[in-house]
Amino acid sequence: MSVKSMICIVCPVGCHVSIDDNHTVTGNRCKRGETYAIKEVTNPTRMITSTVKIKSNLTTRLSVKTSEPIAKTLIFEVMDALNSVEMQAPVSTDDVVIKNVLDTGIDILATRTILE
């Protein structure tokens, strides 16, 4: 049986929790810690924020994010996908930069408005 330990980040308490193969969680001081730990071992997800190239008079990079948290295992694949995109100003916040990235159903969105 393997046990994984982690710090719960749901609230500022930061409990050091452990979870085993049967998804038994220890060290948590509340229910949310259990949910967090189970999610971290079954389907951990992360928001990715990064940049893509943009043709603009103001800057050479446009900041972007995933429309929602994406599987942690896909982080570097998403980064690769971002490397192949080049946008052209004008771009507005929330414009779709990549639709349905890596077939996840999640989009890459612009987080900045660059008009010229």
């Binding site: 928001m47 990715i48 940049t51 990079r61 570097f76 987080t111 900045r112 408005t113």
Partner: protein, 427 residues
């Protein structure tokens, strides 16, 4: 000789800096009766938020999680909707008050010299990063040592990575965020060293920026040597004792080409060099009363130019108050004569902002922000006048990196003259 007089303008309120702080201040300072202008040295509004592309902003102000540029966009849109005047690419060099109004001297490459006569000035020019020289980092002077914020700008705005093999000194949020950002873009981050026995960053950033990428965090460690001929080649870190002195025999060496410094931020008050602005030796920003007015009547300060904040939300809230005060000041609603009752940090408290309450203008409750000197799980903040306790507040997970606040109401005060003190009691 034909003389170019430069442009001269008259406005009620000049706001120096168009980042989070300046935008919020301008928005609350402007009404139908007054004129406000924002001077921004960059080519775009939004300030440092434009390069803070990570998320986590806005939880208090908008009740949602935004990235830095998104947070800035919301204010930039409002700002444009209100049609407030502004000048981009414009650097303020000096402020003087020869007689009854301020003269702000600014430059840009369209107007040349811009002379602005103003009744009030809001200093919202943000902060700058502490440098290698200020922390007296020993070792060789080679290329590859850079403040973390500079590296962030090169990466997120310009699209260039500062280095391939990276070490980071300082575990504040900028350092942690940059550890992840550089890793995502293809650099190898070998570790983060923190002088203190605890990190100054959010736990979430420790987990998602370091643990996710197996980047080690060395607490109670600092960089004690730097080697290299042209570019950085090797750094040495050492564990420190309780007086922050390196312990012999604990040396660890890392072959890296880049050292990012995330060792603190300092309010930028440089434009007031020629005026007698009183600065706090602790915050390095202006000393203000509860209206955010400095010792010089008509000069207000807010945001990171006043004291360094950990959350932009607090910058916004504070700057809105400073802007509102400036508006009242030019409308003649703040009594010129001041009667300051000081707020003094005592046991366990590093500083407070504001540092005083102007009793002549004290009608509404005042929020006092403060930082503690050490990390504790639980404690009680006690506000006193002399020996009389006027307020107590329990708090959990107290840390120097996290700003605390409490509210003081006019009716709580026992008199108009006994200084207010704030102290922290821990079990």
């Amino acid at each position: 000789m034909e003389r170019n007089e430069g442009e001269t303008m008259n406005v009620d309120i000049v706001v120096i800096g168009g980042g989070a702080s300046g935008l919020a201040a301008a928005l609350s300072a402007k009404d139908e009766t007054n004129s406000v202008i924002v001077l921004e040295r960059e080519h775009v509004l939004g300030g440092i938020l434009n390069q803070c592309i990570h998320n986590g902003f806005g939880l208090h102000v908008f009740r949602e999680e935004l990235t830095g540029p998104e947070y800035a966009s919301r204010f930039i849109e409002k700002f444009h909707a209100e049609n407030i005047d502004y000048k981009l690419d414009t650097t303020v060099l000096s402020i003087n008050k020869p007689d009854d109004c301020f003269i702000v001297e600014a430059y840009n490459n369209e107007d040349g010299a811009l002379t602005i006569h103003a009744k009030a000035v809001i200093l919202s020019s943000g902060c700058y990063e502490r440098t290698r020289g200020q922390i007296k980092l020993p070792g060789a002077r080679v290329a590859g040592i850079m403040p973390a914020g500079s590296a962030q700008r090169y990466l997120n705005i310009d699209g260039y990575l500062a280095g391939k093999d990276v070490f980071i000194l300082g575990s504040g949020d900028i350092g942690l965020i940059m550890a992840r950002r550089m890793t995502l873009e293809g650099a190898k981050v070998h570790g983060v060293a923190e002088l203190m026995p605890y990190s100054n960053g959010l736990t979430r950033n420790i987990v998602q920026c370091l643990h996710d990428f197996d980047i080690p965090l060395y607490l109670s460690h600092t960089v004690t040597d730097i080697k290299g001929t042209k570019r950085l080649e090797e750094i040495t870190i050492q564990e420190v004792d309780e007086n922050y002195q390196p312990i012999a025999g604990t040396e660890k060496k890392f072959s890296v080409d880049t050292l990012l410094l995330s060792v603190g931020l300092v309010p930028d008050t440089m434009v007031f060099e020629s005026m007698d602005l009183t600065l706090s030796p602790i915050t390095k920003g202006a000393i203000v009363d509860h209206t955010y007015q400095s010792n010089i009547p008509g000069i207000f300060a807010c945001g990171n130019a006043l004291h360094v904040h950990d959350l932009v939300d607090w910058v916004t809230i504070e700057s809105e108050k400073a802007g509102a005060s400036a508006k009242r000041y030019v409308a003649g609603e703040i009594k010129e004569e001041r009667n300051n009752l000081t707020i003094e940090p005592r046991e366990g408290i590093r500083y407070t902002v504001p540092q005083s309450i102007d009793m002549n203008n004290f009608k509404e409750p005042v929020t006092v922000m403060f930082r503690v000197t050490n990390k504790y799980d639980v404690g009680t903040f006690t506000v006193k006048q002399g020996d009389t306790i006027i307020q107590q507040k329990k708090a959990r997970f107290i840390a120097p990196a996290e700003m605390e606040s409490l509210m003081i109401k006019p009716e709580q005060l026992i008199d108009q003259t006994t200084p207010i003190t704030i102290e922290l009691e821990v079990k």
